[in-house]
Point group: C2
């Protein structure tokens, strides 16, 4: 039920997005619920999931007004439905979700890959694929925060069949919780995040595995790991099922990114093998220049 | 000249290490000078280098009591000499340094690789190879800080010919500026840091180069780079000449580290290519487990 005891009172915001149902109240879904509630953007935030204990925790942490494990009931009452589960779950459930939402309801998802999900929506005009570039190696609603989306980019991936008003609704939702929105084709989005996000996770895990093998030979290796090691391995702690899904659903772009990265490793390896000082220095200088040109992240 | 106007007065520390000469007053050398002066560990800190303007800046920033471009004079008066230039400069100058220091003076260096440098010292008993695991992608005395070595590991790499008292002197120096010391053979040190430090720098530069090429195709790529990208590329901004020297002087260990890392990329690439969900998940799960087992860095 709507909270009638508003103290600051901004009634035109009270139900800007009506009833918002969030499927999967983890880090992203929980943070979205908190942000919507903190800014009084929703008439009501309904958390939908499978695990009653997790749902109760979401309420206790202020991420939802109400919760249910009955997802047709939970999603069917909503004006905006946000799918915040894993990519594989979004792919599996999307047809059913689109079948139970009420007429005019807008559906979006926050999956890290977009082409496969948008294909699965099969041209539904009120579905808008989206992806907030925000997260943490820590998962779960315990790590959720209403400020997660501030200064983040939230990518939107409409298609030719997307209803412009549906796109506008999700764009406003993303902006109202603090994000900057950018519109891309699903394919361009997937090619870019394969490099900026998926490849880093592959690198971090591969590097951490190799470091663990080195430690088998030299047990003191952790004592010689400092800031660069910490940077390179932070995201190795991320949830394996999320990155399994990303690799499966964005297979070609991930393989392309890996191949491109390997080509740069080849350059350095050949230069070191040959003892070519100028080529080694050029390799690092070009990397440093690219970093300067990139701007702050 | 010694500072006679001590306000706190801890005379037994005033000249614990006598006159300390630092060759190369950049980030590491400058931070060491600041730490020695802040803790009153040296009778006098003498900065030695080529560029008078940089040396004057070191004095102005409190990294040295006196400076000189005449390095035989600067090093010849010292009880402890610390070589803080690049690995290639240390390799080139070490024989001359050992020839001009006064009898009984202890010489150490802070280069990132140790085998080649220790070989270059040719068994000199008062030379102790060392390596503080502290740094920054920002170079220069402007980035120096007296707290740089706090909670850092400072590796020591003595050999059979190293004088035990010389080793003890450098061990105390490292500990007095806040570091924890560990003793390794030069070869073990180099194999470990090839993985924990050198490979991360190669990865960061290779990744940044590939990201820059991706941007040529998709100019909006920077807008989709977030925390994981920032982590993976911070050290790509490091000084190219430092990493050139590391790759040249630690060639075999760097090539071994690259080869091992590539073997892990192979595992993931084959699993993604085959669409093998269980193998992909196992890859990430093993990386996450290794990260948990590593402990905090």
């Amino acid at each position: 039920m709507p909270n009638k005891s508003s103290v600051t009172g901004e009634p035109h915001f009270e139900s800007r997005f009506g009833t918002v149902a969030i499927l999967g109240v983890g880090l992203i879904g929980g943070s979205l619920g908190m942000a919507l509630k903190a800014r009084r953007l929703a008439h009501r935030v309904v958390g939908v999931g499978r695990d009653p204990a997790r749902l109760e925790k979401a309420v206790a942490l202020g991420a939802a007004d109400a919760v249910t494990t009955d997802w047709p009931e939970g999603l069917g009452q909503a004006d905006v439905v946000v799918l915040c589960t894993t990519v594989s779950h979004i792919l599996a459930s999307l047809p059913d979700v689109l079948a139970v939402v009420k007429p005019g309801a807008v559906v979006t998802d926050v999956g890290s890959t977009k082409s496969a999900i948008v294909r699965q929506a099969a041209g539904a005009p009120h579905f808008v694929g989206s992806h907030p570039m925000a997260g943490s190696e820590k998962g779960g609603v315990e790590a959720a925060t209403p400020t997660l989306f501030q200064e983040a980019t939230w990518a939107l991936t409409p298609t030719d069949t997307t209803d412009p008003e549906a796109l506008e609704r999700i764009r406003m939702l993303a902006q109202e919780v603090g994000a900057s929105t950018r519109v891309f084709t699903p394919e361009a989005h997937d090619a870019m995040v394969a490099v900026t996000s998926h490849l880093p996770h592959v690198m971090a895990s591969a590097f951490m595995r190799h470091a663990a093998r080195t430690r088998e030979t030299y047990p003191d290796t952790p004592s010689l790991s400092a800031g660069s090691f910490a940077d390179m391995t932070r995201i190795a702690a991320s949830s394996p099922d999320i990155w399994r899904d990303v690799c499966l659903s964005n297979r070609d772009a991930v393989l392309d990114a890996l191949s491109g990265f390997r080509a740069d490793l080849d350059v350095l390896e050949a230069a070191v093998d040959a003892g070519d000082a100028a080529a080694i220095e050029a390799f690092f200088a070009e990397g440093a220049q690219a970093k300067r040109d990139w701007g702050s992240v």
